[in-house]
């Protein structure tokens, strides 16, 4: 549906540039169009938030990006350019030796690596459930040393030292190094997972609902810590969540996804203060606020569509309160309606006059 590609947000070369990505899950009842022509880019050191409901395709994008999609999922089109190299074109071998072949300077330690991986060394991921991403029968220390010994030329003692350093970075006491995951609290486990993700100093960290399973106080603590680490180490973040208020607080720019499409993309402030797409507007009236007047909120009527037979035209039209006849037929066009503010809009949609600003 996206005929025009967005230009990178920052004038500088983006670290990640996803162009017109299509991913389908092949099922006996027909292909599920999970990601349907999505394009966005992430600048160096930027926090890009991808928001949407379950099943909208946000996690599928993260998995595609790391090339961990398994059949029945197939990429049916598009490019994922990481520092200019198409991740989808990399062979398995390349994925492991990425850094050797396309060594990127400026990171300080880049040269001492020989057999590096694209995964982990360049792009690392923090999953939602720490309990499921840590091995329950292996000590935390071994789970960290495994990673650094596999990817860097370190002996066990050096690796252990590095593990202790990493634990210190995420504020876990050194004596906890030899604990098993079940001996740690939920917050500490998630911090250990973050430490492991950061072990190889990646340039891009994907966080898929990193704090959804945690309590608010722990969530705030961990996000503040990530913000500090990001300021120190300068990695970019792809932050995936359904919690829009958290996302507005934490991200620089936000993309809103609905049923496999990107429907709006702008800076966090702009999304919050000036949402243009009816779905974004609906999402923003879907959670009560902790301050201000208590207003009756409506949410969005109906529920997300089945993606085997998505609605024709705009996929949101069956739930849209401002639906026009044209929307049921013609897919909206991805356009930059204000500087750096993109929206999937059809001809009849009331839009601000770009020149007026």
């Amino acid at each position: 549906m996206n005929t025009k590609l967005p230009t990178p947000a920052s004038a500088a070369e983006p670290i990640l540039d996803i162009r017109n990505l299509y991913v389908e899950y092949l099922t006996p009842r027909g292909p599920v169009q999970a990601v349907d022509g999505v394009s966005f880019s992430i600048g160096r050191g930027e926090v890009f938030g991808l928001a949407g409901e379950s099943g909208c395709g946000k996690s599928t994008i993260a998995h595609t990006l790391l090339r961990v999609l398994r059949p029945p999922a197939v990429v049916t089109g598009g490019q994922i350019l990481y520092k200019g190299v198409d991740v989808l074109e990399m062979g398995e071998e390349d994925l492991r030796t990425y850094r050797g072949n396309y060594a990127v300077g400026g990171e300080g330690q880049a040269t001492q690596y020989t057999l590096e991986s694209f995964r982990w060394a360049e792009v690392a991921m923090v999953f939602q459930s720490a309990m499921n991403s840590l091995n329950p029968v292996v000590r935390i220390s071994d789970q960290i040393t495994d990673v650094v010994m596999k990817h860097q030329k370190l002996n066990r003692a050096q690796a252990r030292e590095r593990a202790a350093e990493l634990m210190a970075v995420v504020n876990i006491e050194k004596k906890r190094l030899d604990a098993y995951p079940h001996e740690l609290s939920g917050g500490m486990r998630q911090r250990a997972v973050i430490a492991i993700a950061l072990a190889l100093r990646p340039s891009l960290l994907i966080m898929d609902e990193p704090t959804t399973a945690l309590d608010v106080v722990v969530q705030k603590d961990i996000l503040q810590q990530i913000e500090q680490l990001q300021a120190q180490l300068g990695f970019a973040i792809l932050f995936i969540t359904h919690d829009l208020s958290l996302m507005v607080e934490f991200s620089n720019r936000i993309g809103i996804m609905y049923a496999g499409n990107l429907v709006e993309m702008a800076s966090a402030r702009e999304i919050f203060n000036n949402p243009l797409h009816p779905y974004t507007q609906g999402l923003l009236t879907s959670f009560p606020s902790i301050t201000g007047e208590r207003k009756r909120l409506t949410g969005i009527p109906g529920s997300p569509p089945n993606l085997i037979t998505p609605p024709a035209g705009c996929r949101f039209h069956p739930r849209c309160t401002r639906c026009q006849p044209v929307e049921t037929q013609v897919a909206p066009e991805w356009q930059e309606v204000l500087p750096e503010h993109w929206v999937a809009a059809h001809a009849g949609m009331p839009l601000p006059d770009r020149t007026a600003r």
């Binding site: 309590d215 705030k220 913000e227 919690d243 208020s245 606020s289 208590r294 009756r296 009527p301």
Partner: protein, 334 residues
């Protein structure tokens, strides 16, 4: 519906419909020789009036769900009383009284994917309570099922009744769970995190449905949640729970605008607030909920409290009243 949510509770002067007095629950854990106990609930007392939503907020493990499970009588309390219209339900006759109690007090669970039977149609699952509690007979059963589905916003009811849970979305399933609770015309509904598993865009629909049931039918709700914003939206009163104690309680708006207990202040500071931004409010107290296995004396929040005093580690503070319907347990105010 122009009326703002959280209109004052119906009749504050009437005797409490549901009253919980000094409820305590200790779960035994560990060995035979040195039995230890998880102090899940310590001396919890509160009331729910007709047509009132009382929100119970707290972090995981704070005892919110245990409270609901004790009230619904899935688990027996270690000590304490549960009174419905003044009658102590724990002492009353088992079989018949218990059936009556279970009709009047219903529960909605967090996970609508596991609280409905996958093998039966929605219509069947709504018929069962009607038959067991003799609310309808013969042809009237079918009509009543359709009426319930329509009340819960599941249209068209004739079609919905023939569907199976796997054909429904999470929000629709939670509406079925609400319809099932309504089948027996309950007076109190215990809603344990009813929206936390639902997609953001359909949460408000379920909250507004509860709001409507409160207003139109005078049902009293105990709304259990970890989300303070939704407690403020739906709850007339909000109670904050920490490590098995209710540490602060007040009218929702007053409590959130004027939090007194350091824990309530911490919780409120941690709620994401797009207006403010992440860096503006620093969380002062680190750490997590302490172990509840044979805890030391004193206030359970003392180890994390930024304003801790010596006395806090020695004795649990008594209730101090700080405003109309607003009280807390904190040595700073006693």
């Amino acid at each position: 519906m122009t009326q703002a949510p959280n209109a004052p509770a119906a009749q504050p002067a009437s005797p409490p419909m549901l009253e919980v007095r000094r409820l305590v629950k200790h779960f035994p854990v560990g060995g035979l020789l040195r039995p230890r106990h998880v102090h899940a609930l310590n001396d919890v007392s509160f009331t729910v009036q007709r047509g009132q939503v009382v929100a119970l907020v707290g972090e995981s493990g704070s005892g919110k769900s245990t409270t609901a499970r004790l009230i619904i009588r899935l688990v027996r309390p270690t000590s304490g009383e549960i009174r419905l219209d003044g009658v102590d339900v724990l002492k009353s006759e088992p079989r018949k009284a218990s059936l009556d109690y279970r009709r009047r007090v219903q529960m909605i669970f967090q996970d609508p994917f596991s609280s409905l039977s996958p093998n039966h149609s929605i219509g069947y699952q709504l018929e069962r309570p009607l038959i067991i509690h003799q609310r309808a007979q013969g042809k009237a059963i079918r009509e009543k099922v359709h009426e319930l589905l329509a009340t819960a916003g599941l249209n068209p009811p004739e079609e919905m009744a023939d569907k199976f849970p796997f054909e429904l979305s999470g929000g629709q399933r939670q509406r079925v769970a609400i319809a099932r609770a309504l089948a027996v015309e309950p007076e109190v509904i215990l809603a344990d995190e009813p929206i936390s598993m639902l997609d953001v865009s359909i949460r408000m629909g379920v909250l507004n449905l509860m709001q409507r049931l409160k207003e139109e039918r005078g049902i009293g709700f105990l709304y259990i949640t970890h989300d303070l914003a939704s407690a403020r939206y739906l709850g007339d009163l909000t109670m904050v729970m920490y490590a098995g104690h209710i540490v602060e309680s007040g009218e929702s708006r007053e409590l959130m605008e004027n939090p007194r207990h350091p824990y309530t202040q911490l919780l409120l500071a941690a709620v994401p607030n797009p207006q403010a931004g992440l860096a503006t409010k620093t969380v002062q107290a680190r750490g997590e909920v302490p172990s509840l296995i044979d805890p030391p004396p004193g206030c359970p929040f003392a180890p994390r409290c930024p304003q801790v005093k010596d006395i806090c580690r020695q004795a649990m503070p008594e209730k101090s009243t700080v405003g109309q319907n607003h009280w807390l347990r904190c040595h700073l105010y006693s």
